[in-house]
């Protein structure tokens, strides 16, 4: 707890009362909408042992729809952007994304290993989660800025796609390199042959995994069909996938309900993971989010864009990262990483992070 409090003090110093009030207002505007409220309902339900059961096939189906939708709308908007400005507005944010995708797993690893004193495997495993991103956090952040009438730049979905892989790859490579010696020692000691490493396999699976394939694939499809189809024929696809539409927002409610059910279960593990990881799950995103908002602003993102950018950079993966980490760093304890990503950072971002990034972006000067 001391760690948490000490770490929070600088924040208080930075904020004026007026800024603080504005953040509270943003919070209220964000929290009292169906999407976060469904998340809260899910948590409440689990805590009282309530009986909501979302079939996992529905959950997977919604995930597929959301990823396709994010990709398709991204491709659609990108086509308009491309027709209007070529690649001139895009390459800087893309570079900033790549840079942050490589930086955040390293900062995460260093903090976890040397401030938190976690083992190599645990540090690298958690860093892989925080180096990647969460498409649902993107969806919620995007809904938020659309409701504040400051829609994000059109190419943000492209950035989500870019952000997905590098962080996982770098963290796993760090973990594999540093823990190789430990493993060799253990193998020698037990006299059994060293276990086969599944690093290559796992990395390939991340790169060709569902999130990337669906987002990048539909991005291309959205781009191509915007370029070549007449608008009337395009319309039903647009209506189906569009992120402001009833389908996207509606199924997002159901998805967050299920996320709440799972996060609620993991809440019990908060005690097990200890105060350091709780503080990490809140403060690391704030730090990464601030950095992202700042770099995003420099790269030319607008107010909504900086907010969403901060949200995706700060968010932690809980879909692509866990199996990759489980396969390559099996000695890492998955309870630590899943709890941090799903029961601390995700709810924090959904409830508090997004409005805070919005105010950060404003404060930095994004418009």
């Amino acid at each position: 707890m001391t760690t948490l409090l000490l770490a929070a003090i600088p924040l208080w110093g930075i904020l004026s009362t007026e800024q603080f009030t504005r953040i509270l207002e943003s919070l209220e505007r964000n929290l009292l909408t169906p999407i976060p409220l469904c998340f809260v309902l899910g948590i409440v339900c689990t805590r009282i042992h309530g009986g909501i059961k979302i079939p996992k096939e529905l959950y997977y189906s919604i995930a597929i729809f959301l990823l396709m939708s994010i990709g398709f709308m991204g491709g659609h908007e990108l086509a308009h952007e491309y027709e209007a400005h070529g690649v001139s507005t895009i390459w800087k944010p893309a570079l900033a994304t790549l840079f942050l995708g490589c930086l955040t797993p390293i900062t995460s690893y260093v903090v976890l290993r040397y401030v938190g004193g976690l083992s190599i495997a645990d540090s690298a495993g958690i860093a892989a989660h925080y180096g990647s991103t969460s498409a649902v956090t993107y969806a919620v952040a995007n809904s938020f800025v659309e409701q504040t009438q400051h829609p994000a730049n059109s190419f943000l979905p492209t950035l989500v796609t870019i952000l997905e892989c590098p962080g996982i790859a770098i963290a796993l490579l760090i973990g594999a390199a540093l823990s190789a010696r430990e493993r060799a020692a253990k193998a020698a000691q037990t006299g059994r042959p060293a276990k086969e490493s599944k690093l290559g396999e796992a990395l390939y699976e991340v790169i060709t995994g569902q999130s990337i394939m669906l987002m990048a694939g539909l991005l291309a499809i959205g781009f191509i069909s915007t370029m070549f189809m007449d608008p009337k024929g395009f319309q039903p696809f647009y209506d189906f996938f569009q992120s402001k539409g009833m389908l996207f927002r509606g199924v997002l409610c159901i998805f967050l309900l299920e996320m709440g059910l799972v996060a609620g279960e993991k809440l019990g593990d908060l005690l097990k993971v200890g105060p350091f990881l709780v503080a990490f799950g809140v403060l690391m995103p704030l730090a990464h989010g601030f950095l992202a908002a700042y770099l995003g602003h420099l790269a030319g993102l607008n107010l909504g864009g900086c907010t969403v950018f901060a949200a995706i950079v700060s968010s932690a993966s809980y879909i692509a990262a866990p199996p990759a980490v489980r396969l390559t760093l099996p000695e890492a304890n998955p309870t630590l990483s899943i709890t941090a990503a799903l029961a601390i950072t995700f709810p924090f971002n959904i409830a508090f992070g997004i409005p805070i990034y919005y105010e950060m972006a404003k404060w930095i000067g994004a418009q």
Binding site: P322, P330, E331, P334
Partner: protein
């Protein structure tokens, strides 16, 4: 009805490793395998990742001759028992036209 005595190897554990185990079993001499999605609870189930994150429990079964059974169990025991939630056992079965499940 001529029946051949063989062994049934059953492995239950985190589904993230089960496809690998199935294929490794095939490499060690099994002519086939059967995978079932299950739900499980065990001593290390804390290590098991929630359903939403894509990880669950699965069961793999191999019908194999005794020597292959031992090879598969030894491999699983070395490669997976330390770090993964997994249980494995062996039982006796009488298989119809069992000779076709013995590789030369």
């Amino acid at each position: 009805m001529q029946l051949y005595p063989l062994k049934l190897v059953t492995v239950v554990g985190e589904s993230v490793i089960m496809e690998d185990i199935a294929e490794e079993g095939a490499k060690l001499g099994a002519t086939g395998y059967t995978i079932t999605e299950v739900n499980g609870h065990g001593s290390r189930s804390a290590r098991n990742v929630a359903s939403t994150t894509g990880a669950r429990t699965a069961k793999v079964e191999f019908v194999v001759p005794g020597d292959v059974a031992v090879k598969i169990l030894t491999h699983i025991s070395h490669q997976y028992f330390d770090d993964y939630a997994v249980i494995a056992w062996l039982s006796d079965v009488q298989v119809v036209r069992g000779q076709q499940y013995v590789r030369d």
